[in-house]
């Protein structure tokens, strides 16, 4: 079993504070025409109620696939080949599809990035929002409709009674994202996964949506997994972070500590790439090259080809996620060198 993140166990060991979501050794393989490749490689982390963990990484790093594996919505070419996903004491990967579906909504739910494709374009939104109440709670059509209207009001949609009859394309991007969030929290889940929930939105609307998520989280003590490529969003909104690269978690820990003093060269490189730190006109300390193809992930460290610290050991031996301080881990043979950098 590979190392996993246990961010707070040392600080507070209250059994009542069991993690809402615990992922261990999760592996996802992709079966493609060119062969089978590993897209998610022994990923592990835990999230407690009321806390936010950010899965941070660039495109293709496996963060979205990790989320899809957790909620059981993987594409048919992808297959979970190992690990466990424990929600409310149950490993959901061992459940039958039917039992698992029953958890989708009341226990575990997800907000997708693209609200226009996630909503049904030919059904009024009120009917779509009423669906969870009809299916999971067995409410009557009328009662479910009232619930849907309440829900729309709770996520800040003006004139919800009239707007319930509108179709998704009649809403702005920000309002559509609110509708998706409303649907995700309808049955008061314990765990909410949000996959790039604001990426397609304008900055001022982004801020509104993040505020809404935060308010809902406080209200329902949600455990949130925030999947994002945006370091600033992580800095502002997450408690803990797991940095992913080429299917692996390479560093994890409390956001403040990780961002203040990263212990993996990839995290360091990402933080340096943000123009915010550099003066205008100055060269940005860019990470050279680009991430490896999934079919060509090297045997040793996944980051070796772009790493300024790489040496022989990195080519031959894959570093495992190992503790680098209280509640922090990094998968680097030479993370000690970054500590004194």
């Amino acid at each position: 079993m590979p190392a996993s993140t246990e961010t707070e166990t040392r600080a507070e060991e209250r059994p009542a504070d069991d993690p809402a979501l615990e992922v261990r050794g999760l592996c996802v393989d992709l079966h493609t025409a060119a062969g089978t490749v590993r897209a998610v490689d022994h990923v592990g982390f835990t999230v407690r109620r009321g806390r936010t963990l950010a899965l941070l990484g660039e495109s293709g790093c496996g963060k979205s696939m990790t989320a899809q594996a957790i909620v059981g919505l993987l594409d048919p070419v992808a297959e979970v080949t190992g690990g466990s996903v424990t929600v409310a004491g149950t490993d959901v990967l061992r459940l039958s599809p039917g039992k698992r579906r029953k958890l989708a909504g009341p226990v575990l739910s997800i907000v997708f990035q693209d609200a226009l494709t996630a909503l049904n374009p030919v059904q009024p939104v009120g009917r779509q929002l009423a669906e969870p109440f009809r299916i999971h709670r067995g409410l009557s059509r009328r009662a479910a409709r009232e619930k849907a209207i309440e829900l729309m009001a709770s996520v800040g949609i003006p004139e919800p009674r009239q707007r319930a009859r509108s179709y998704p394309h009649q809403f702005s991007g920000g309002m559509r994202q609110r509708l998706l969030i409303a649907m995700a929290v309808a049955l008061e889940p314990d765990v909410l996964l949000a996959d790039e929930p604001t990426t397609a939105l304008d900055v001022t609307v982004q801020a509104q949506i993040m505020r809404l998520l935060r308010d809902l989280q406080t209200e329902h003590r949600l455990a949130v997994v925030l999947i994002t490529h945006d370091l600033a969003v992580v800095a502002q909104r997450a408690d803990d972070v797991a940095v992913m690269y080429a299917g692996n978690v390479v560093e994890t820990g409390p956001v403040r500590e990780v961002f203040a003093a990263p212990r993996h060269p990839y995290t360091r490189g990402l933080l340096d790439s943000v123009p915010e730190h550099a003066r205008r006109g100055e060269r940005l300390p860019a990470v050279p090259g680009s991430p490896p193809e999934l079919s060509a992930i090297p045997a040793g460290c996944v980051f070796q080809a772009r790493c300024p610290l790489a040496r022989e050991r990195c080519v031959t031996e894959r570093p495992v996620l190992a503790p680098v301080g209280a509640g922090r881990s990094a998968a680097c043979h030479f993370s000690e060198e970054l500590a004194h950098a």
Partner: protein, 343 residues
Amino acid sequence: MPETTLERTPDAAPSGAPLLDVTGVRKTFRSGRGRLTALDGVDLRLGRGETLGLVGESGCGKSTLARVLLRLERPDAGTVRFDGVDPFALRGRELLAWRRRVQMVFQDPFASLNARMSAADIIGEPWRTHRDVQPTAQARQRRVRELLDLVGLREGDAHRHPNEFSGGQRQRLGIARALALEPDLIVCDEPVSALDLSVQAQVLNLLADLQRRLGVSYVFISHDLSVVRHVADRVTVMYLGKVIEHGRTEEVFDRPLHPYTAALLSAAPTLDVSGEAGADREIPLRGEIPSPFDIPSGCRFRTRCWKAEDRCRDAAPPLRTRVVDGGDEPHEGLCHFPLEVAG
């Protein structure tokens, strides 16, 4: 620091002929839903070898403005002067010669390159249109090599096709194509927003290097304020088809005049993890951008502005000018109640 805020008419241009001088450009489109005002009296100025950052949310008109600068869209009113010349008055050979001077780098490096062409063909394609600057067969190969080298690609890449390149490499290729005709101005429309962060920095560095070496000017359109702050000498902020603030980059970012600019800056999350400053320094804006079919009276930002009063509904906001350091280059904003900055 000397500083005054006073009302002023917008006609006093700074000294020295700019490369690009846009005044009062207006563009409306008709559709089934009525008349859409995309640009409503836009002014823009850009010097040689400089970068102008164009900032605003979707629907603010920045892409329409880019199309006007490229002469792909003829404005209904106003003037565009490029090096003193009105591109819309040009025809035939003169127009072709002008087109060489303005090129474009697109947002999506996947959609903007022909998948069936090799890198060498892509870079050389502009020469097929502009035959009078087309290099001879031998010179052509050398020139392609030079351009590949200039954007940090290898000579051996000349024969590869777009699908064999990563996103960042494709964007380098798009930049090489834009440089093939040795333009004076490159309009970059969200050139790094489709790229991963670690690759984005490489492309931003490349654009800066090219400007230093070739003296090319950029109009840099981006929604990412930290990127604009890094690359731009001056910033123009647009809202619903109008320039609502313009000035030197540090001025606009550090001491915005317009409430919209301030809200935009505060809404953009930063890397600061010190805590307290974080989420709560944000200025919450009401609602969303109104429809460009139905622009609010008076100040167009008033429906979302926390400082709005009756006057903002009844009268168009005046141009406010803050004179900075001697006053040769004012910082301008359109607002009844500009933000006062403790000086």
